[in-house]
């Protein structure tokens, strides 16, 4: 048994207690972590897996919850039914679930979490009557309800619009392995033969699942007493698990898809986590889900199918939020004793209980923010530099609106505090203000240490801080150059190096956005230093994008153009008197005001760029036009570059 103990995020090992639960002639292998007095979170694995797929998530949850995992019948340490045919029906799997739930949490409903076939089972558990009252919440990832899937297919076949047919064909192509698994004997032979041997390598190569056998990843687990690697995955039992598990498909797929239940409505709140890069399941499968689930919370995750291995931090945080929102507030000891942990039915609610319920309902509502990308950025940590004004502030607000936790960074302490305060008001669960000069490497290092220690690893980094500098090259002193390069270029370099390094070390992907400018590709006699710094940011971002692509870290560079922000009010104009500088500032500010392109639109472009992982994003029409010209007619741009701006 390789699941001896699992590493917790704090580095220590969390004790794993194993027990066996007998049900219907099957011996189920059940592992428990954490304090049994806490709410129970029950993790169900998929195919071809065993409960070890959850080791990283379980370790992260064990500090707060009573975490329970079991091997599905025929997998890992559980015995297989005899005969195999007919032994894996969803009805029997429901019996197993109830037996485990009764054994580990007899008095309180459990919080169910399923991945892949574990999620398919979870949907069955949460939609059949006999489990009613035993499930407090269900978190589903990468596994639809077969009944909902059946209806999904029927709907599209009865109204075969081009879009519906496209969706059907798309999912049909993604399900190629399902057809193969229905052939007799061959899958078993393959799994027990070459496929079983190659599987870990295939997972690593195509699914980017970090190998449990290769060199230790930073922050990974340590050797356990038995000599097994605690996070060894896939386990040695894989060939048998996969061979037995083929019956999951053979026993259920045809039966359910051809005759889906009409009453498959969920009786517990559901959190649906959809990996956007899933090679086996289309995102469209969940389009009609509101029909079946009254309390649905959607999340999307840019990842492939095996999220419990590739995104354990994110999953643990979303599961924690969802479970906490659907757990009663901690009651007083006396109340708990009186209730025996179960709310009495049919008893009039006291005001305290009523308030608690309302509170819980509100927390559940607040789980997903109102912003357009609430599903994607909810609970993520976003750091924005230059967040005291302009594009940075608007970006911080846009992320806050999408439910992200925001770290606002700027030199201007007052402005950045204001940004954090307003961010909290519009939906950021948490927001902090940090006063740092991005050009100061030491300060940035310190900031990174503080952020990592107190808030966590940054999921989205927006290097936005920048200063303006205008004037002829021959009038630009080296002091001027230093100032503009320190902020515009070195600020980005420090941010990418320090925070990007943390992202890469965590190994769960992320995104970096750098704000360049249309001046990065539009030369101008008025902005030599500024344009140079921004062109460097553009190229840096492109190179970094290539380097970090393999680690699922996207890099986008934004080229806004003329946007109405106070960069004009603080810009430096070289080669002119202080008075003339003031006049030019005022004049530029007025011109930018007349153009009046709002920074909010740039912020929207930034969020969109992160969601779609876009490489170079010109924002205003003039920025787009210049980008097009730079490719089609660079001489035109050079001609424009000679024009003296009317200041």
């Amino acid at each position: 048994m390789s699941f001896q103990s699992v590493p917790s995020p704090s580095g220590g090992l969390v004790a794993v207690r194993e027990r066996r639960v007998r049900t219907g002639g099957i011996d189920l292998c059940v592992a428990e972590l954490g304090d049994p007095a806490r709410p129970t979170v029950l993790l169900v694995h998929g195919y071809p897996d065993s409960k070890e797929v959850w080791s990283q998530v379980a370790g992260r949850l064990a500090g707060r919850f009573h975490v329970v995992l079991y091997d599905v019948r025929g997998h890992g340490g559980s015995t297989a039914p005899k005969p195999l045919r007919g032994g894996f029906t969803l009805e029997k799997l429901t019996d197993d679930f109830l037996a485990v739930a009764d054994a580990v949490s007899p008095h309180r409903p459990v919080h169910l979490v399923g991945h892949d076939w574990g999620s398919v089972q979870g949907w069955e558990f949460v939609t059949v009557r006999r489990t009613s009252g035993r499930i407090a919440s269900f978190t589903s990832m990468s596994g639809p309800s077969l009944d909902h899937f059946g209806h999904w297919i029927k709907r599209r076949l009865t109204r075969p619009t081009p879009r519906a047919l496209g969706q059907l064909l798309g999912q049909g192509a993604k399900s190629w392995y399902v057809y193969l698994l229905h052939t007799p004997v061959l899958p078993e032979l393959a799994w027990r033969g070459p496929l079983g041997r190659q599987w870990p390598r295939l997972l690593e190569r195509f699914e980017k699942v970090p190998s449990g056998r290769g060199p230790q990843a930073p922050g990974g687990g340590t050797e356990s007493a038995s000599g097994h690697r605690p996070d060894a995955y896939p386990t040695a039992s894989l060939p048998d698990d996969a061979a037995h598990g083929a019956w999951l498909y053979r026993d259920n797929i045809h039966a359910r898809l051809s005759r889906p239940r009409a009453d498959a409505h969920a009786h517990a709140p559901v959190q649906l986590i959809t990996p956007t890069g899933d090679a086996f399941l289309s995102e469209r499968l969940y389009d009609d889900l509101e029909r079946w689930v009254p309390q649905l919370v959607r999340r999307t995750l840019p990842a492939k199918h095996w999220v419990p291995r590739t995104r354990p931090d994110q999953l643990a945080s979303w599961i924690t939020d969802f479970v906490t929102a659907h757990e009663p507030e901690p009651e007083t000891g006396a109340e708990r004793a009186a209730l025996g942990g179960v709310a009495p039915a049919g008893v009039a609610l006291g005001p305290a209980e009523k308030a608690r319920r309302e509170n819980r309902a509100r927390r559940a509502r607040d789980l997903v923010a109102s912003g357009p990308y609430g599903e994607r950025f909810g609970g993520q940590l976003v750091l924005v530099t230059g967040a005291a004004s302009g594009i940075g502030r608007a970006t911080a607000f846009a992320f806050a609106e999408s439910g992200a936790r925001v770290v606002a960074v700027d030199r201007d302490a007052e402005g950045v505090a204001r940004t954090a305060e307003m961010a909290r008001l519009i939906g950021a669960p948490q927001a902090w203000a940090e006063t740092v000069d991005v050009g100061d490497e030491e300060a940035m290092e310190k900031l990174a240490q503080k952020v990592a220690a107190e808030y966590g690893t940054v999921d989205v980094l927006v290097n936005n801080a920048g200063v303006g500098l205008s004037g002829p090259f021959l009038d630009t002193t080296s002091e001027d150059w230093k100032r503009v390069l320190d902020v515009n270029l070195w600020g980005v370099i420090h941010g990418c190096r320090i925070f990007g390094g943390q992202m890469a070390a965590r190994g769960e992907g992320g995104h970096i956005v750098n704000t360049a400018s249309a001046a990065a590709y539009q030369p101008s006699r008025a902005l030599p230093a500024y344009s140079t710094s921004k062109a460097a940011v553009l190229m840096l971002s492109e190179c970094l994008r290539a380097e970090l692509a393999g680690q699922d870290i996207g890099v986008s560079v934004i080229c806004p153009g003329f946007v109405n922000t106070n960069i004009t009010a603080t810009a430096r104009f070289t080669g002119v008197s202080a008075e003339e500088e003031k006049r030019r500032r005022k004049r530029t500010a007025r011109l930018y005001g007349l153009r009046n392109y709002p920074p909010e639109k740039v912020a929207d472009a930034i969020l969109r760029a992160v969601v779609r992982n876009e490489a170079v994003v010109p924002v205003t029409p003039e920025a787009r036009g210049a980008r097009l010209l730079s490719r089609l007619a660079p001489r035109a741009l050079r001609a424009i570059a000679r024009v003296e701006p009317p200041l």
């Binding site: 004004s389 709002p598 909010e600």
Partner: protein, 280 residues
């Protein structure tokens, strides 16, 4: 309004004050009757009926009501979008009631921001309007150019993180002059604006054009002049990601040399001012 406050003017100010109070009373009464499901049209109708029942026959403009993100004029492109729609109020939604009744020949133009239920963001916007009220009065007393004051208000909004939403009003005005209106038995309205009041505004605009001032306090060059004595309905309007808040009340500008008499708010006993008093 040619000199400092005289006895005659004091009577006149009393008239303006009473109609402004009436309008704010109307706003509070209607706000108290707003429930989830009430539409903007219904809210506008409620204001109109309430004021008609108390003798209002003419209007500077008919009552407006904006709910939800319409309080921040989200997506407004043409002036027709200001008119009340069938948008229904819901729990937690901000709203703005804006009306300009004429009563006994005196005009008021008020804006009342409220919220159905709790909305901390809206509370924050309302609290932040206080700085704007103070800034406006201070700079008018300093006799700064109206255009400059407009830009200072703009800058304060940007510092606070808000958008300037009075820019969406016709000519982007933060304020406009109001005056006495002759009581006529028949006073038709054009697009919601009373013709009598418009006539006054037009004649001011004509005279102002000759003398280098404008009855509209805008960000444009025609407002680049010191505050003109008279009554100004001032309406700074903050917007923040789909939530808007404003107040609108009368600022009295005189040509007195005494700073305190040169400009003052007509009435300091208004709902938003009382609110700040309580919060402080």
């Amino acid at each position: 309004m040619a000199s400092a406050v005289t006895a005659e003017q004091a009577t006149e100010l009393r008239g303006f004050r009473s109609v402004q109070r009436l309008a704010y009373e109307c706003a509070e009464a209607v706000a108290a009757r707003l429930r989830p499901g009430v539409t903007e049209r219904e809210a506008a109708r409620m204001q109109r009926d309430w004021l008609r029942a108390r003798g209002v026959r003419d209007w500077f403009h008919l009552p407006f009501a904006w709910f939800g993100d319409r309080t921040a004029f989200t997506g407004f492109r043409i002036p027709l979008q200001f008119f009340p729609t069938n948008r229904a109020l819901a729990e937690g939604m901000p709203f703005i009631l804006d009306m300009a009744p004429v009563h006994g020949g005196f005009t008021a133009d008020v804006g009342y921001s409220g919220c159905l239920g709790a909305n901390p963001l809206h509370d924050k916007l309302l609290a932040d309007l206080r700085a704007h009220r103070e800034l406006l009065l201070r700079e008018v007393r300093e006799r700064r150019s109206l255009r400059e004051i407009y830009e200072d208000v703009d800058r304060l909004m940007v510092r606070q993180g808000y958008e300037n939403r009075h820019r969406a009003y016709p000519f982007g005005v933060i304020a406009h002059k109001i005056d006495r209106v002759k009581d006529r038995r028949w006073s038709p309205r054009v697009l919601g604006f009373g013709t009598q009041a418009l006539k006054g505004l037009a004649s001011d605009a004509l005279h102002g054009h000759r003398d280098g001032w404008s009855p509209l306090w805008s960000p444009y060059r025609f407002s680049d002049h010191p505050p003109r004595p008279g009554l100004w309905a001032v309406e700074p309007h903050l917007g923040f990601r789909g939530t808007g808040a404003k107040f609108e009340e009368i600022l009295v500008v005189t040509d007195s040399r005494d700073p305190a008499e040169s400009a003052f708010w007509l009435d300091d006993d208004l709902p938003h001012v009382r609110r700040w008093g309580k919060g402080a």
